[in-house]
């Protein structure tokens, strides 16, 4: 039941600097912990996050085992035109989630 929380302003003025906040549900298991039996708990993390605006990539991040569970990634961008942000998280064990949000720029 992976789910994402996205916070993008619904409206902005042209040229405004806007903050985009994303929260993705994920355990971010480091791969460094052991079970009681001594076996390693296999690594299970998100390895990359990307944001596209109207098809063009505007932000990308690589994630590593030291990042806490449920990664919260925020960044700023300039509102130039109305359109759609598309977010993508990719990780171990075939993890792949997407989300999107629209903005109207006046």
């Amino acid at each position: 039941m992976a789910s994402a929380l996205i916070n993008v302003p619904a409206k902005a003025k042209r040229g405004d600097i806007i903050e985009i906040k994303t929260l993705m549900s994920h355990i971010m298991e480091t791969g460094y912990r052991h079970m009681a039996s001594g076996e390693i708990v296999p690594r299970d993390i998100i390895t990359s996050f990307a944001c596209r605006f109207n098809g063009t990539e505007i932000f990308r991040a690589d994630l590593f085992p030291a990042i806490a569970a449920n990664p919260f990634i925020t960044f700023f961008t300039t509102a130039i035109e109305s359109g759609k942000f598309e977010f993508e998280w990719v990780g171990d064990r075939g993890f792949s989630e997407t989300a999107s949000a629209s903005i109207t720029v006046e």
Binding site: L5, L23, S25, A68, A69, N70, F72
Partner: protein, 257 residues
């Protein structure tokens, strides 16, 4: 002899002077002990990781389960209306069992008796999600737990447990949370222990957790044997704590360090 006398006096004084309950006007949520950056996580619903469980809980609320093939929503309809204020009254007296049950146990009794499904394990993601979703509907509602007169003996027992010293460190809950709040223990704030925001997201746990998990962690901390999940003692302690927090606002899902 005189030396021993001083030690005895030092051991006796803190109990004699401090063992008082927190006056109504001085009660503070754990929120007020947090740094501004941790508060900011709780305040923004799109930054609060506890909301991920609330979202999951909303999906579970509508999902059919068990032999009865019923969803929570089939009986209780819109949780925003039917569940508003409910969590602020828990733990509540269960007529059939003749003792108080907490919100998790209430949800599981609904699952077993109405949905004819298997109960969800304590601290499982699904049980936390459903509990968080139900409790979220009471966000901002004043806590009223303990109004039912049938609960009185159970609250008294919870209070007794709260006051009682135990474990290798020989501490009771009251020694920290009534007598020494606003001081620090290993760098962390000692709060008053009002359970206003459960289930809550602890940054240390990197997960949502129940009040019972928190209580068990505290009991291990004083090096006593924690009660099992669902034990009547834990429910009585939850009940006492919630009745002690009466009038305070629900914050579920809260964030704590």
């Amino acid at each position: 002899m005189r030396f021993i006398g001083i030690i005895v006096a030092a051991l006796l004084i803190p109990d004699a002077v401090c063992a008082a309950e927190i006056p109504q006007a001085e009660r503070r949520s754990g929120y007020s002990f947090m740094k501004p950056d941790t508060r900011a996580i709780q305040d923004d619903d799109t930054a609060n990781p506890g909301m991920l469980w609330v979202l999951d809980g909303e999906a579970l609320w509508k999902r059919k389960a068990g032999a009865a093939d019923k969803a929570c929503a089939d009986c209780h309809d819109n949780a925003r209306i039917s569940m508003k204020g409910v969590a602020a009254r828990y733990p509540a007296f269960d007529m059939a069992l003749g003792r108080p049950v907490d919100l998790e146990q209430r949800i599981n009794s609904c699952r077993v008796n109405r949905q004819q499904a298997t109960p969800l394990p304590f601290e499982s993601r699904d049980l936390l999600a459903l509990t968080a979703f139900v409790a979220r509907q009471s966000h901002g509602v004043a806590i009223e737990t303990g109004g039912d007169p049938q609960l009185a003996p159970f609250i008294a027992r919870g209070r007794e447990l709260f006051m009682q010293r135990q474990g290798q460190l020989n501490l009771g809950c009251a020694n920290c949370h009534d007598d020494n709040w606003e001081k620090r223990l290993a760098g962390s704030a000692i709060t008053q222990g009002h359970p206003t925001g459960y289930p809550l997201y602890r940054l240390e746990w990197q997960s949502l957790g129940s009040l019972q998990r928190r209580l068990r962690a505290c009991i291990s901390g004083i090096r006593a044997q924690p009660y099992d999940y669902g034990a009547p003692e834990l429910v009585e302690l939850e009940l006492y704590l919630m009745s002690r927090a009466r009038g305070m606002r629900m914050e579920t899902p809260a964030v704590r360090p």
